[in-house]
Subunit: 405 residues, 2 copies
C-alpha cells in the first residue's frame, strides 16, 4: 500500500466531464489499495477571469484581497471533485489551504510555503478517506489567505507530498511529459523517461512550462519522487529524479528557447569603478530583473555594456537607463526587442567538455549569429535573432543527437 | 461615533457597478466617523448556478462539499468590495466566516450559529478598518465550512451585530422596507416606519420575504436594532423594534398571503383514539411538514380530517396518506392544490378583540369562502380559494384601514 499524491492542472478539471474523468482515475488508484491525496488547480481560465474582475474594481487591486478572490477557484474544483467521488460512493473530503495547514509567509500573490501541518490530512487518510486539497493556496500565521503564484498548485502538491513522505507525487497536466524540445517547434522532439531535478530547474526557468519552478526546488530539496504525465491518456510520462541518483547521464537532455527577453545596450560608458553599480542599481530600484550581462572594453577608456531584461519591462528599463546615461556621461542607449534565448541543458555537461564549441559551430553552420552567451554548470544559453529561434532549436536538437529515431 | 453593521443582498452586489455603489455608501458612513462592519451576500444568481454545477456532478451532492462550494460566492463579493474600498483609499479588510470566528453547528446547508468570536473583527475595527465579512458562511468546531441556508446572510449580519453590540444593523435589499401588503397585489399598500420583531416573524413565515426568519429571531433574542432599507435609493426604510418597546401599536400592521400550500382531506376516518397519531406520524416519517389541521366530527363515529402541506410535498403526502387510509379503514383521501392562505398580522391583536369577526365579515362581503382558519396571538390566517387570494388581500387591506391616504 503506497501513499500517492496526485495533482491535476486547470485543463484536467476544466469542466464537469473532465472532473468526472479525474474522479475515475483517482478511484481506480484507490481501488488498488493506495492511500490517495489529490491536489487540484482551478478550472482553466478561471484564475484569469477572476483577475479581470479584480481589474474592473481597481487599477492596482490590493494583493491580500486578490488572494482571497483567487482562492475561490481551487475551492470550487476541490468541492466539485469531492462531490463527484462521494456520488460514486468513495469516501472523499475536501480541504482548503488553511484546513490542510499549508502555512506560508505573508507575501500575498507569491507566498512561499513555510510549513505543512498535515495533521488533518493524516487523520483523514487514516480513516480511509480520499483527501482532496485545493492547490495554490495557503494561509499565513495570522490566518490570512495567501496564494503561491502562477503554477503554485504544483508546489502545493510536491510540498504536501514531502510533508506526508508520500511514495510518489504524480503531476497530471495537458502535456504527457518533458520533451527534448518543444514538439510544436521541433517535430523530432522525444519524450524523456527521466530528467534530473537540476536539469528541470534550468529548463523550467527557460520556458519549458511543464512544472512550476518552485515545485522542482522542493522536489530536489526534500527528495520527492515526481512523475509528470498527461491526464488525457494512459501513456507513460517523465520521472523527475534527483541528480545524485545513479542514472545514465546524457550530455545534453534538452533544447529550450524563450522569446520573453529584450536587450539593452549602453554605448560609450566611462570605464570607471562604480559605474556598473549605478547602472544596475537604477534597474533594481525600478524592480527590473536583469538577466545576462556583457561588457566590451573599447579603446579610450570607454566600454559598451549590454544586458537583457524581461520584454514586459523593456520600455521602463529604457527610460530608467536613459536617465543613467545622462548622469554618467555615456554616449547613448540602444534597445532591441527582436531577440530570443536558445539553451542546451544537460547534467552530463558537468563531466563533458566540448558542448559549447559544438553549440556555436552548429549555429554558425546555419548562419545564426550569437549576440550574447551565458552559462551555468549544466546549461549554455545564447541570445540570437528572434526570427531564427525555431531554426536554432531544430539545428541544436539534431547536432546533439536528440532526434527521434 | 457609532458601530454600524451594514448587510447588502445579492441584487445589491450583482455586478461591478453595483459593488462600486455599495463601496460609496459604506465610505460615506465611514467618513461620518462611524465604525463599519459590512456583510455581503453572493452576487445575485451565483448561488443558484453553483447549485446547478453541483447537480451536474451528483444527483444528491454531498452537503459538506456543497457548503464548501457555495461559500465561494460570498468570498468573491467580500474580496471585490475590499478591493474597491482599498482602491478608493479606505482601509478595508475582508474576512471569511472562519476568520470572523462565526462558529456554527455542523448541520451543513442549514447550520445554526452557536457563537461569534469577533476577536479579529474588533481588532481590525480598533485599527480603523472597514471590516468586510462574507455572509452566509461559518465553520463548525472542527473547522469545516458550513452555510446558514437561504437568506443566511441576514442572520450573519444580525448575529455579528449582536456579538459586537452594534448600535444598528442595516439590511440593504432590493425592496425599500416592509409594507402593509405586497405592493404588486395591493396598490394601496403603505411602507411601515416600524414593525415589531414578533409581527415580522409572523409575516416572514407567511411569505413577506424581506428578511431571513432566523435573523428576526436573533434580533428579538439579542435586542438588535435592525433597519431594512433599499440599496438603490436614499429613502427611509422600516425599523424592526422589539414588541416590548414603547411603540404605538396598530391593531393590524399587515396583510400577507401565500400560495405555497396544498390541502389534503381524509374522509370518513374512524373516530378512535390513536388514529390522528397514525395519520400524522406517517407524514412526519416521510419528512412532510403539516401546517394547519381541522377535524369535523360527523355522525356515526366517523370524522373528516383536513390538513395543509407545502405544495412541493403534495404528491408525496397524498401517496403516504392513501396507504394510511387503507390501513385505518377510512373512506378515501382528497387533495386540493388550488388554495391560498391569507393572514392579518398585528401585535395590537393581543389587546383588541373583534379582529377575527371583522376579517370573516370582510371576506364574506366579497363572497370569499373560508375553508380553514388558524390563529396565533398576533395573527389570523384563512385558507381560501387560490384565485381569490389577491382580492382577499385588497379587501382586508381596506377593511383594516391600512390603505394609503
Amino acid at each position: 500500500m503506497a501513499l500517492i499524491v496526485q495533482k491535476f492542472g486547470g485543463t484536467s478539471v476544466a469542466n464537469p466531464e473532465r472532473i468526472r474523468n479525474v474522479a475515475k482515475r483517482v478511484a481506480k488508484k484507490y481501488d488498488q489499495g493506495d492511500k490517495m491525496v489529490v491536489i487540484l488547480s482551478a478550472m482553466a481560465g478561471v484564475t484569469d477571469s477572476l483577475l479581470r474582475l479584480a481589474g474592473e474594481m481597481a487599477e492596482t487591486p490590493d494583493r491580500r484581497e486578490v488572494d482571497v478572490l483567487l482562492a475561490t477557484g481551487e475551492q470550487t474544483t476541490a468541492a466539485l471533485l469531492a462531490i463527484t467521488l462521494k456520488s460514486m460512493n468513495y469516501p472523499a473530503v475536501s480541504l482548503l489551504g488553511f484546513q490542510a495547514e499549508v502555512v506560508t509567509d505573508c507575501n500575498y500573490s507569491n507566498a512561499r510555503i513555510i510549513d505543512i501541518g498535515a495533521h488533518r490530512i493524516r487523520e483523514l487518510l487514516d480513516q480511509q478517506n480520499i483527501v482532496v486539497i485545493a492547490g495554490f493556496q495557503g494561509c499565513d500565521a495570522q490566518g490570512n489567505i495567501t496564494t503561491l503564484g502562477r503554477g503554485g498548485s504544483d508546489t502545493s502538491a510536491v510540498a504536501i507530498a514531502a510533508a506526508l513522505k508520500a511514495d510518489m507525487c504524480e503531476i497530471y497536466t495537458d502535456v504527457d511529459g518533458v520533451y527534448t524540445a518543444d514538439p510544436n517547434v521541433c517535430r523530432k522532439a522525444r519524450k524523456l523517461d527521466k530528467i534530473s531535478c537540476e536539469e528541470m530547474l534550468e529548463m523550467a526557468s527557460l520556458g519549458a512550462k511543464v512544472l512550476h519552478i518552485r515545485s522542482v526546488e522542493f522536489a530536489l530539496k526534500h527528495n520527492v519522487l515526481v512523475y509528470v504525465r498527461s491526464s488525457f491518456s494512459e501513456e507513460e510520462g517523465t520521472m523527475l529524479v534527483n541528480g545524485n541518483h545513479d542514472m545514465e547521464r546524457p550530455v545534453v537532455s534538452g533544447i529550450t528557447y524563450s522569446k520573453n527577453e529584450a536587450r539593452i545596450t549602453l554605448k560609450g560608458v566611462p570605464d570607471q569603478p562604480g559605474i556598473a553599480a549605478k547602472i544596475f542599481n537604477a534597474a533594481a530600484d525600478a524592480n527590473i530583473n536583469v538577466d545576462m550581462i556583457i561588457q566590451n572594453t573599447l579603446a579610450g577608456g570607454k566600454t559598451d555594456l549590454t544586458f537583457t531584461v524581461p520584454k514586459t519591462e523593456f520600455k521602463r528599463a529604457l527610460e530608467v537607463e536613459r536617465k543613467v546615461v545622462e548622469e554618467i556621461g555615456a554616449d547613448n542607449v540602444l534597445g532591441d526587442e527582436g531577440i530570443a534565448k536558445v539553451s542546451v541543458t544537460g547534467i552530463g555537461m558537468k563531466s563533458h567538455s566540448g558542448v559549447a564549441s559544438k553549440m556555436f559551430s552548429a549555429l554558425a553552420v546555419e548562419n545564426i549569429n550569437i549576440m550574447m552567451i551565458s552559462t551555468s554548470e549544466i546549461r549554455i544559453s545564447c541570445i540570437i535573432e528572434e526570427k531564427k529561434a525555431e531554426l536554432a532549436v531544430r539545428t541544436l536538437h539534431t547536432a546533439f543527437g536528440l532526434d527521434k529515431e
